[in-house]
Point group: C2
Chain length 464, copies 2
């Protein structure tokens, strides 16, 4: 028999009133009032705890239960009783309580507030705290919302490869994947490592993006998306960077930059609405204890039309405020976080797409605009975070793409299959990448990426 989840008891309280159910969960508090006691039980199915009443009259092992430590796992059979006059809408009157697993006074999560730094050292237990329970529930709901959004629109989900022998962006610090002897790798005559003896017969890395592979599939399925882990071996110890993170990358045939932005905007709104619908208690908690303006900001984003401004116009706007920036802006320079946040928080007061960046600061595969200077790229900036999405229309013209590859000092031979897509039935197409952790941070107000990843991997850290 499967146990009833506490979320289901709250959701179906009318039907379950007076019914007997069996539940399992972890004690957040146990109060012993001698002839009866209260247990606040949480089973992770929702933010709310269930109040369980147990008494000496009915529960034979009353003393055993009353003396349990916080964190004990309990299996309880009892009757659902509505309590319209009490603080909580219902309680469970226990018939039997069984200790599935005791806890101890050494349990690190005693009833007091713990700092996130400490909680990161007990990643195996932190999901039982309010903060992380809510965060990882939102993470799961948001992930499902993304699948729902794309599948409803007829997108095909593609698992692009994690191990790759090519570097999508032609740059970026990558992790090497190898089975060679680490101490005595086989060497060529010239002293270089002989990767032909490695597992894949050549040097291999962890992917930084599934985009080029996704394009293979967009040229057959029209609309596709990837949703998987990506990796950066950047030595940057910030609150927004992790070495391993999840990314969503849709790729759409017969779509230009405007269509790309339409889908990105609709997706963000859909994720927000679904999360607000399905996690109201979690979001209320974040709004009260993590980020006071959260709910208002999410409502605002879900219901506003995102702004759209060209990079060139944005630079004109930003230059007027150059005196207040650490890095003054001028045409040709990449936008810094301070510029991005000023645009979205001060100027637009809502999310905004910046489009058509100088080609020098963007990747080779982005479509060259008719001005010959800019490319059909876009970054979506959101209040409180800055850049959350980067996308572009892809260069579909074979000759232009080949000369862009050469301009960047790369060789066309390395991209033979990517170029083939332009030789045989290419078409205008576009896509974008959403960093999933940034989205979860945005949904929760949690400020550090280490606190939205189940087990974060950062410089010097791969514990658990």
């Amino acid at each position: 028999m499967r146990y009833t989840k506490i979320a289901a008891i709250f959701a179906d309280s009318q039907e379950l009133s007076g019914q007997e159910v069996q539940i399992g969960g972890w004690a957040k508090t146990i109060r012993d009032l001698k002839t009866f006691g209260f247990i606040e039980l949480n089973d992770g199915s929702c933010f709310k705890n269930l109040q369980v009443v147990f008494s000496t009259e009915i529960v034979a092992n009353y003393k055993e239960i009353a003396s349990q430590n916080v964190g004990a796992a309990l299996e309880i059979v009892g009757t659902v009783v509505l309590t319209p006059d009490a603080k909580q809408p219902l309680e469970l009157q226990a018939k039997t309580v069984v200790v599935a697993g005791a806890s101890s006074p050494e349990y690190p999560l005693q009833k007091k507030r713990h700092g996130v730094e400490f909680l990161r050292t007990i990643q195996h237990l932190r999901p039982r705290t309010n903060l992380y329970s809510a965060t990882f529930r939102v993470r799961s709901v948001a992930a499902m919302a993304i699948h729902e959004f794309f599948q409803q629109k007829g997108f095909t989900y593609v698992h692009t490869p994690i191990i790759t022998a090519s570097d999508c962006e032609g740059a970026g610090e990558m992790f090497r994947v190898t089975t060679l002897d680490p101490k005595n790798p086989p060497l060529l005559e010239n002293g270089d490592v002989d990767y032909s003896q490695d597992f894949f017969g050549k040097a291999a890395n962890l992917t930084v993006s599934g985009q080029l592979n996704a394009e293979n599939f967009a040229m057959a399925f029209g609309d596709v998306y990837t949703f998987g882990p990506t990796f950066r071996a950047e030595n940057s110890n910030t609150a927004r960077h992790a070495a391993e993170f999840w990314m969503i990358e849709p790729e759409m045939a017969f779509t230009d930059l405007a269509g790309d932005m339409d889908i990105a905007e609709a997706m963000i709104k859909f994720i927000i609405k679904r999360t607000m619908e399905r996690c109201p208690d979690d979001l209320a908690f974040f709004n009260s204890f993590v980020d006071k303006g959260l709910l208002e900001r999410l409502e605002n984003v879900a219901n506003s039309d995102f702004g759209r401004v060209s990079y060139t116009e944005a630079v004109e706007i930003l230059k007027k405020n150059n005196a207040n920036f650490d890095y003054p802006v001028e045409w040709g320079s990449d936008l810094q976080t301070e510029h991005e946040r000023y645009l979205t928080e001060q100027v637009y007061k809502k999310p905004v797409f910046v489009t058509d960046y100088p080609k020098e600061i963007k990747a080779f595969y982005m479509r060259l605009n008719d001005d010959g200077k800019t490319v059909a790229a876009t970054d979506c900036l959101v209040p409180g975070i800055g850049e959350i999405i980067g996308g572009s229309q892809r260069e579909e013209r074979l000759d232009v793409l080949e000369s862009r590859i050469r301009e960047m000092g790369m060789t066309t031979e390395d991209y033979w299959w990517y170029l083939d897509l332009r030789r045989y039935g290419g078409c205008k197409h576009a896509g974008f990448g959403l960093g999933f952790e940034r989205m979860v941070m945005y949904l929760t107000g949690v400020a550090n990426i280490r606190d939205v990843l189940p087990h974060p991997r950062t410089v010097g850290n791969a514990d658990f």
Copy 2:
């Protein structure tokens, strides 16, 4: 404006009859009958092609279109016309046809049958063939079905880490993940590689299973699942092994082995039913051209109660047939594929769970049965494939688990956090792993794992 998908035209043909739509896709055939012509267009949204009729009278660039090569990308505006008396239920009468991207006579997918070995060398184009289009559509639908199954049941989706410093099974060939200088790694005084200088401050590998991490979350959320890539650096060049593959690993608190099997059985049936519902044309294709008995087998599995037999009983059954096996069976030996297939195909003629294996041939974390000799493990065997799922109830008793770890020659210190789960509110719990590619092979009848992975990674192969 977003284009109408061909799948939607077939699905909503009554409403769209007489309406003008815009579509985009790739020409599978073009026939020129001088004053009018036919295009079979596929856009990947469904197995079926759309027949497009274009004529000299209406389509001004008739000659340009009629002379296009197979594989050309076309954008077409036209009227949906029902054709109840024709072979196909409807056609599109073209108003305008635009060549989005031409193809060429060198296009490798000319209208003839190609072998899968050749098609593996053009992985960027093979999604446009019937076989791979159907396979990757089924893959996407099956992946979504898995999310739906678990989310409907209130499971929390957890992204367990890909990069790990621990080895779940205490064995297995793993890929090293590193940023150390491959030629001149830093060495300790004793000559060993100094991994403290590596990116994570210690040696790191690609995960072989998310299970131990998933248990952390099951002890907070009750029911969780992972769905992500896993890796094996095994030097095995078979049709069923890849170095990178996707795995689904649910983990359930307050659940024993019987409950574990209930969920596994319900999940497999759900995936099959959803795929049959959503991909009827794809499955009909597989049934006709890849595996004649496919539909019957899937129907049978979806509607049968899976068998359950203990390892000890299974060995008794198998021993009677020992004369016909390459490897005779006796109690204590691991079951080979020939034994597994004999059980499920000849004896049970349906899927069967084999349970309670000798502890010597199973992992340390599996719960020791009262007989002291076997563990509460299960493998689910299915006709045509053999093992598709491996699962177990986990050892929740701290002392038993510690002695099992020592028995296997491992150290308890390495598993401090895993053991903590038994110190602080542990409970009976269970889980299993489903190899996603095996499931897709099962759903399609496709016999080689290289043909169900978008870009397969195997020994000597990481192309694309």
